[in-house]
Structures are given as structure tokens and as C-alpha cells.
């Protein structure tokens, strides 16, 4: 598979061994006025793993993803990605460094077709200038076709051939989530952030999505960080789980360790007063 080989090539570029730290978050604090969304959280994501972030509603999970891909700028703390410490960063710079993402409430380009949406994910890899774009001939056309080929492989992989030319606004929710995953995959990311990829899905759709997540991780070697509320899914998929509650990290470890942690049980079930 071409996607596979290209992704593998991308992986070897950054020179980080499997299992070594890909992303390092140190003492991040983020507040909006008086609301402390994240307080002094540190964690790491290792290359090649599936890292889950869980926690009750409002725990700061999505804020954490927003910090990682540059939507929010934390007041304190340091983030380093691929061994390089980064300063204030815009989302498109994070994208250029290899961080892709899906959204909790699907953020597809609703007026565009499935094909165009996934092609949109290739934007960073297309470079032909305005002149060739105007003519839609020669280099621009070749480039377009080259990327169309990659996009078709992603469409095959996600089994969405039949909706290739359907505007995504007309698709059912489960398929939209799948297209969004495809769009993120088209960026050939080193780190893929999934914000509740299974929210609102039925059992069958969840099983499909879980299979895709595992396939992406094992076949393409993409490191994945995911937020999910379905504990069954999280415990089955994740290599390591971090638990947030009210913006603080309360537990971090393998699924078994986290499940046995009293602080986690208290956060989810409440404590008797």
C-alpha cells in the first residue's frame, strides 16, 4: 500500500525510535479568566502507542488537545514535540509538524464532497504555484492526480468508495466521522488526535471505528491520542490511559492500573459525604 510506504518513510524521518517520547507536556496550566481549565498537568505520548485521555465532562480533555495543536496557548508550561521545544504556535504550524486531529462535533467542510474533503487534507503537501493552478495543466494536473491516487487509497482503506462524490453535509453521522478520520489520515500525521471518535455511534459503528483506529496504529505506525467516554473501547484500545478531573491529572498508567485506582473511581462515581 502506497499510503503505508509513504507514512513509513515519514516515520523514519523524525529519527525517534518506537517507544521513545514523541510529545512531552510539562506542567501545563491554562485558564480562561478565573476558570482554570488545566492545572499543572504533565504527561508524555510515546511513539507508536495509543494514548487515551479520559475524565468526566469538563475535565479539560478537549482543552488539552487544543493546547497540543495550537488553538490555545497555555499560560505556563512547556510542550516539546519530536524533541523540539515549541513556543506559541498557530494550528497550521502544528499541522506542518505532523499533528492531525478530528473533532468532537464533526468539523467537516460540509459544502464539499467526500473526495474534496480528503483532498483538503493533502493541502500541505501540494505546492504548485498560482500560475499552474490557473491552467490546471502540466505540473498542477500531475500533482492533483498524484494526490488523488493517495486519497483513493484512503477511501479504499475506510471503505467509503460509494460516497466519494456525495457532499458530506448529506451523509449520516457515522459516515461523517469516518470521512473526518480519512481527512486527518490524508495529512499523513506523526501524531493523530482523536476527540471522541465514537461519540453517538451504535455498537456496530463503534466496532468499525475501533478497527480503523487499530489498523491506522499498526499498519501506518501512527501515534494516536484519543479522548473517549466509552470505557470498554478505551480499555481495549489504549496502551496507556491518563485521567483528568477538574483540570488536574489524577491518574496515569496502563488500563488495568487506572481501573483499579481509587481516585479514578471516586471521580467517576462520586464520593459519599
Amino acid at each position: 500500500m502506497n499510503v503505508h510506504s509513504q507514512a513509513a518513510a515519514a516515520q523514519s524521518d523524525d529519527g525517534i525510535a518506537l517507544g521513545a517520547d514523541l510529545l512531552h507536556v510539562d506542567n501545563i496550566s491554562l485558564s480562561f479568566g478565573g476558570v482554570k481549565a488545566i492545572q499543572d498537568v504533565s504527561f508524555d505520548i510515546r511513539k507508536g502507542e495509543i494514548r487515551a485521555i479520559i475524565g468526566p465532562n469538563g475535565a479539560g480533555k478537549t482543552s488539552m488537545l487544543n493546547v497540543i495543536n495550537g488553538f490555545y496557548h497555555p499560560q505556563e508550561g512547556i510542550i516539546s514535540f519530536k524533541g523540539r521545544e515549541r513556543r506559541r504556535m498557530r494550528p497550521y504550524e502544528a499541522a506542518a509538524q505532523g499533528i492531525a486531529r478530528t473533532f468532537q462535533n464533526v468539523a467537516l467542510f460540509t459544502g464539499m464532497t467526500t473526495l474534496e474533503n480528503i483532498m483538503a487534507g493533502r493541502s500541505l503537501k501540494m505546492h504548485r504555484n498560482f500560475f499552474w493552478q490557473m491552467l490546471y495543466r502540466g505540473p498542477a494536473l500531475n500533482e492533483e492526480m498524484e494526490h488523488r491516487r493517495v486519497v483513493e487509497e484512503i477511501i479504499d482503506f475506510l471503505e467509503i468508495e460509494a460516497i466519494r462524490k456525495t457532499p458530506v453535509g448529506q451523509l449520516p453521522y457515522g459516515l461523517q466521522k469516518r470521512v473526518e478520520l480519512g481527512r486527518a489520515l490524508a495529512m499523513e500525521p506523526t501524531l493523530l488526535l482523536l476527540d471522541e471518535p465514537m461519540a453517538g455511534m451504535n455498537l456496530e459503528e463503534k466496532e468499525d471505528m475501533s478497527r480503523y483506529v487499530l489498523d491506522v496504529n499498526s499498519q501506518l505506525g501512527t501515534t494516536i491520542a484519543l479522548i473517549e467516554h466509552d470505557m470498554g473501547v478505551v480499555m481495549d484500545l489504549a496502551d496507556r490511559v491518563m485521567v483528568l478531573d477538574y483540570g488536574k491529572k489524577i491518574a496515569d498508567g496502563t488500563p488495568d492500573e487506572v481501573q483499579a485506582n481509587q481516585a479514578v473511581i471516586d471521580a467517576y462515581l462520586g464520593v459519599p459525604h
Partner: protein
């Protein structure tokens, strides 16, 4: 029956992404081009060319321009009239400073001035969206109108305050001015419009067009795909204003012959915006349909009583006209809010599957 694509298989992605993937459509496009380039000049009289075809094509080009900005990049603008004015005044200045350069080159060059001004007034779009952006483009409209009146240098200190098109020739043919024939002017306008429409279509289906649509549909996700909002929005303003500028220059040089600030007032901005909305946001053929509907239909209605031999007072016809056009606009927008272009593709789909319902 007529519109079956059975048996037309695509064997390459290139064929699949062609502008007109269906054979019947390709035939239709060549037929339309043949009629426009050969048929119309042969049979059209001066009135038909001067009052219908030339303005229709010019407004269609301006609609394509505004459609790029509003329909594809999602940035509302009411400054179209002023940007057309920038093109017209720039072309006038250019051709009076360099009288020997071919006027067609000057018309295209004037688009760049309009693009530059458009980019400057596009800067607020980086912070504000929607109706608030409309207000800032409206400010551009009034500011530029003020410039067209107050800066006498723009109209070469002409006491009447108007720009008058000088006679320009190329290869022995008179292209502009009072003695240029309607056929020459029509063919020039048509050629420029066809080439620029083709270019617009190419840009839209490529990387740059996608980046505009990404910004329109979901700017947060677009940024995450590596699209810089600054580049996408300003390039949309630049390309859109370029098209409006060329349309404005052609409006004065190939149609009106002379123009004052009133030719570029806010009413024209509205006119073009209505063409875009009625034709269909985010559709190039919609721009042509909208322009045809709003420009040609009133002329037909005005002429209709004469054809069927009824004597109606001119004033009555004019009132009827307003009522009919207004009614039709509402009618079409109610049955299809996405404009005539969508209506057209629904019709095409019905033809494809006829006699079955789906």
C-alpha cells in the same frame, strides 16, 4: 433519454475530474461556444449586441468575481461596484498615459490595481465575519466613490468629472470609442470572459480553490489542515477584485463609452450580489444564469407587449416589469434557495433517470 451517460466509463482520475465529464455536456459547451462566437455576431443586430449580450457578459464576469469571494471563500462583500470602478479608472489612466499599448493588455493590467485595492480592503476579513464584514466592505464602497469624485487626477481633470473612452486600435481594427463596431466589442468581451471563466474554474477545482472552500465551511479545521487564513482570504479578495476590476474596465471601454461615479455606486454592488445569490452561491454557471435572469429578463418583458401586438404605456410596462421580476426572484428562491444553478442540476438529474423517479 437524451441525457444518458450509460457506457461512458472513466479509466483515469484525470477523466473523472474533467470539467465536463459527461459527453453530452461537452457537446453542449462546444455548441454554446460556437453559437456565441459565430452565430450571435452573424445574426445579432446592434441593439441585441449592445444592450443585451455585451452587458450580460460583463455582469456575468463580475458575478463570477463576486462568486469567488462570497460563494467560494464565504466572505460577504458589498464593494463590488467600487472594485469595478477601480478597474475602470485604472484602465483609463493607463491608456491615457501609455496610448500606444494594446487596450486589451491595459484592461487586464487594470485588474491588478483592483486586486491590490481589494486586498487592502480584505484585511478586516481576518478579524471579522459575515454582516460585520459587509459593513467594512460598504465603507470601501463609499470611500472609493469619494475618491472617484474628489481626486480629479483620476479623470484627468475633465470638467464634467467623467471618464471618456478614447479611440484605440490594434492591427488596424478600431477596438474602443464611438466608431468601434458592436461586433468587434462583443467578440473582445466574449473572448476575455470565456478565457477568464475557464481560469476561474481551474483555480476553483485546484488546491487554491479548495483552500477557499475550506475557510468558508470550517475555518478552524482549515487552519488545522495547514491553510493559513491570511493567505486564503486575501487571495480570494485579490482574485475576486481582479475579476471585478476587469469587468469594470470592460463595462466602460466596451459598453458605456463614458462613465461617472454613478456607474460604480452601491446599487451596482447590490445588482451583482443579487445575480450571485439568485444564480447560486458557489457556482460558476450560476453566475451566468443569475446575470442572464436579472439583466436579460427585464428587457424581454419590456419588449414582450410589442411582439404580441398589444399597445401598453411605457410607464405601465416599467411598473409591471418591477413587479414581475420581484415576484420571480421570490418564486425561484422559495422553490430552490440554492439558486438557479441548483435548479439546473436537479433538472439534469431528473433527465438522467427519466422515466424513473430516481
Amino acid at each position: 433519454m437524451l441525457y444518458r451517460e450509460a457506457g461512458q466509463f472513466k479509466t483515469s482520475y484525470q477523466a473523472d475530474q474533467a470539467a465536463f465529464p459527461i459527453f453530452q455536456d461537452q457537446l453542449a459547451v462546444w455548441a454554446i461556444l460556437a453559437v456565441a462566437f459565430i452565430g450571435v455576431p452573424l445574426v445579432g443586430n446592434d441593439f441585441f449586441l449592445n444592450s443585451i449580450m455585451i452587458p450580460f457578459l460583463i455582469f456575468a464576469l463580475a458575478s463570477v468575481g463576486l462568486n469567488i469571494l462570497t460563494g467560494y471563500a464565504g466572505q460577504l462583500s458589498l464593494g463590488t461596484g467600487a472594485f469595478m470602478g477601480v478597474g475602470a479608472y485604472a484602465c483609463y489612466k493607463l491608456t491615457t498615459i501609455f496610448p500606444d499599448v494594446n487596450i486589451v493588455i491595459m484592461i487586464v493590467a487594470s485588474g491588478f490595481f483592483s486586486a491590490g485595492i481589494g486586498m487592502i480592503f480584505g484585511l478586516p476579513s481576518l478579524r471579522i465575519k459575515g454582516f460585520y464584514l459587509v459593513v467594512t466592505t460598504l465603507a470601501a464602497q463609499f470611500f472609493l466613490e469619494w475618491c472617484f469624485i474628489r481626486i480629479a487626477w483620476l479623470y484627468n481633470y475633465n470638467p464634467s468629472g467623467a471618464i471618456e473612452v478614447p479611440q484605440r486600435e490594434a492591427f488596424g481594427v478600431i477596438l474602443t470609442g464611438a466608431s468601434a463596431t458592436p461586433v468587434t466589442r462583443y467578440l473582445l468581451v466574449l473572448s476575455i470572459v470565456v478565457v477568464m471563466t475557464w481560469i476561474a474554474f481551474n483555480i476553483i477545482r485546484g488546491r487554491i480553490g479548495r483552500s477557499w472552500m475550506m475557510i468558508r465551511d470550517m475555518d478552524i479545521a482549515a487552519e488545522l489542515m495547514g491553510v493559513k487564513p491570511l493567505n486564503a482570504k486575501l487571495s480570494a479578495f485579490a482574485v475576486s477584485s481582479f475579476y471585478c476590476g476587469v469587468a469594470g474596465a470592460m463595462m466602460v471601454f466596451f459598453w458605456l463609452g463614458a462613465a461617472e461615479v454613478e456607474s460604480f455606486d452601491v446599487n451596482h454592488s447590490f445588482l451583482i450580489l443579487f445575480m450571485v445569490i439568485l444564480g447560486g452561491l458557489g457556482s460558476i454557471k450560476g453566475a451566468f444564469m443569475g446575470a442572464a435572469f436579472i439583466w436579460i429578463l427585464p428587457i424581454l418583458i419590456r419588449a414582450a407587449p410589442g411582439w404580441i401586438g398589444i399597445e401598453v404605456q411605457a410607464a405601465t410596462v416599467e411598473h409591471l416589469n418591477f413587479m414581475l421580476i420581484g415576484g420571480l426572484i421570490i418564486f425561484f428562491l422559495i422553490i430552490e434557495p440554492h439558486g438557479l444553478a441548483r435548479l439546473w442540476s436537479i433538472g439534469k438529474q431528473k433527465l438522467r433517470v427519466w422515466p424513473f423517479p430516481y
